[in-house]
């Protein structure tokens, strides 16, 4: 084990006991925890290198994209965020077979080459972790403190889930489709990561069992060889490393379906007793914009400043992005990319003249359902679906 991993794993190097008490933080050196600014500052510092990722944790591996990496229509696999609960499995240990069982007429077992012979469907879609922006909620909540980069867009291709369900012949009474991954929880006391989606959503032509990403075989870290793609819905529904699909009358009974990934039907204040309101599964994303350039804490040359970014939503598509600079009024940005459900649109705004010095740019998006990105979204105890205004401070030289 090399030193970096060792330190991140909690071993403090052999410095004097006084010294590490002085640091006062386990893993401070390895995890770079001694500074005082935020991770947005960290991403600004490395703006020139898109391949860099923000390391949230090594085991399970949680990596966040920098905003610069999101300044494109498609996010390359190597700069897309990485998230799992129990770590990426060693996928090559067993011949990959996807079985479809439960309330079906003909239970199926399909190898990857057999899946590859079924008609291919492709969809460009945003994937966003349900907890993207968790680190921005106040009061704070437990869980990986993602800030802005647990999101990305790719072209996903594979088999329509509807085609698989048709082949298996769904029986009367089927309401939900469960997905089992190949990632075992570390203890039998922990629920497996089993999730389900309603059968209508599984039958939607955009819902895929994806085998490829941006034209390449789906990388292991992104759920390869086979993951669910549910355009418009948050990443908790995009089960990775799928080996078993169970058609059922009910939702998956797992912790990750019944307890985790739920939000109150109506907002409740921090500290409200649990059970005060019904908790619904996190499904559709909400409308959101991200400023990819300038970067947080970065500096730009004087002259016109190109403010750029991406914006996306769940239902429908983004119809407007507005930008506000310093204390000015909201101005409409120019949208690029045709509207497409599930996909993001790039946008740009030219700031003709900005005085030398520090500026703050804020962006908000509106979608075809009339939803407007709020300044601050309602707090929820697990920190899901943050979509507050995106704000970047930068300097004009």
């Amino acid at each position: 084990m090399d030193e970096a991993r060792d330190e991140a794993a909690g071993h403090v190097p052999a410095i004097s006991r006084r010294a590490w008490i002085g640091i006062g933080l386990i893993g401070a050196a390895g995890a770079g925890l001694s500074g005082r600014s935020t991770a947005q500052g960290a991403s600004g510092a490395a703006a020139s290198d898109e391949e860099k990722l923000i390391v949230r944790s090594l085991r399970p591996l949680n990596l966040e994209a920098t905003s610069t990496a999101l300044d494109h229509r498609m996010t390359p696999a190597n700069s897309l965020f990485v998230r799992s609960h129990f770590g990426a499995p060693a996928v090559e240990l067993e011949t990959w077979v996807v079985e479809i069982v439960g309330l079906v007429q003909h239970p199926l077992k399909l190898r990857l080459d057999e899946l590859g012979r079924i008609e291919t469907a492709s969809k460009t879609a945003v994937i966003q972790c349900a907890g993207n922006g968790r680190g921005l909620f106040r009061p704070r909540v437990p869980g990986t403190p993602w800030e802005r980069g647990a999101v990305g867009q790719a072209e996903w291709s594979g088999v329509r889930l509807a085609d698989l369900l048709d082949r298996a012949g769904v029986q009367e009474g089927a309401e939900h489709v469960h997905f089992y991954g190949s990632d075992a929880p570390p203890s039998p006391k922990i629920s497996a990561f089993v999730r389900s989606i309603p059968i209508d959503r599984a039958r939607d032509p955009s819902t895929l069992l994806a085998l490829r990403m941006n034209g390449e075989p789906l990388p292991t870290l992104h759920g390869g060889p086979a993951r669910v793609v549910v355009p418009g819905w948050a990443g908790n529904n995009w089960t990775k490393w799928v080996r078993r699909i169970v058609v059922s009358r009910e939702e998956a009974p797992s912790f990750y379906m019944q307890t985790a990934y739920r939000m109150p039907r109506t907002p409740v204040p921090p500290g409200a007793p649990a059970g005060a309101v019904a908790m619904l599964p996190v499904t559709w994303m909400n409308v959101k914009s991200l400023i990819a350039s300038p970067v947080q804490g970065g500096s730009v040359a004087s002259g016109p400043v190109e403010v750029r970014g991406v914006a996306w939503t769940g239902r429908g598509h983004v119809t407007k992005v507005e930008v506000r600079v310093d204390d000015g009024s909201w101005k409409e940005a120019t949208l690029r990319d045709d509207p497409e459900t599930g996909a993001w649109r790039r946008w740009g705004f030219r700031l003709e003249s900005a005085r030398p010095g520090r500026h703050v740019v804020v962006a908000r998006a509106t979608d075809s359902e009339g939803e407007v990105q709020p300044e601050t979204p309602p707090w929820n105890k697990s920190g899901y679906l943050w979509n507050g205004y995106d704000t970047v401070a930068f300097e004009v030289k």
Binding site: H11, G87, A90, S187
Partner: protein, 217 residues
């Protein structure tokens, strides 16, 4: 067990381990606080890093009540943290990773430089071709199953091994197996290289998810 007794027992175990050189105390109160700190840290290292790395914990900024809830949750999820260590560990976490402190600055790395078993690497192919699976299974049952569970799905002390990325890292696997890691004992005296190969080959042959009622629920 009373706190004092817990501190005493833990101090004794530390003295036995002998890995800490404690300079003469300036004042008794300071000394007690420092000892408490050391013991809590030790408990945390031994009981909280079995399933995940410290960064998952150290990246959080929570209230004492939230930390208490996390510790309770993790004990429910299988952390072997002894009852009497729960309060000291909770206090330690609340002290060092308080919601009143700013979020720590994480490191940046390109994917290929991220030091995690999960990042696929060119396999340093395990010599499993001629491995004796039956022997691996037997050795696993006698040497490993107590902690890692009979089917390698995890047990009271050891994490699940089935389908884990470490099974693709024979060098790291061997190092942990022979040298041990925190509460995982080393096996230098007890296992031969071919034993290690046989166990690894058997672990690699396991299936997951395990068959279950196909009707689901």
């Amino acid at each position: 067990m009373s706190t004092v007794r817990y501190l005493f027992m833990a101090a004794l175990s530390l003295a036995i381990v002998g890995s800490l050189m404690v300079p003469a105390p300036a004042r008794q109160d300071d000394d007690e606080a420092e000892m408490r700190e050391l013991l809590a840290r030790r408990s945390l290292e031994e009981n909280c890093l079995i399933c995940h790395t410290m960064d998952l914990i150290a990246g959080q900024r929570l209230t004492p009540a939230q930390w208490k809830a996390e510790v309770v949750k993790m004990i429910g999820w299988g952390s072997p943290l002894p009852k009497e260590a729960a309060d000291p560990v909770t206090e330690f976490l609340a002290r060092h990773y308080s919601d009143r402190e700013p979020t720590p600055v994480p490191t940046l790395a390109t994917l290929k430089d991220v030091d995690s078993y999960e990042v696929p690497k060119e396999r340093n192919a395990p010599a499993e071709a001629g491995a004796d699976l039956k022997r691996g299974e037997k050795l696993y049952a006698t040497t490993c199953a107590n902690c890692h569970g009979p089917k390698a799905l995890g047990g009271d002390l050891g994490p699940a091994l089935v389908h884990k990325a470490i099974l693709d890292r024979p060098t790291d696997y061997n190092r942990i197996l022979f040298e041990g890691l925190r509460r995982m004992p080393g096996n230098k005296q007890t296992l031969k290289p071919e034993d290690s190969v046989a166990i690894l080959a058997w672990l690699r042959s396991l299936s997951y998810p395990v068959p279950l009622d196909p009707g689901g629920r």
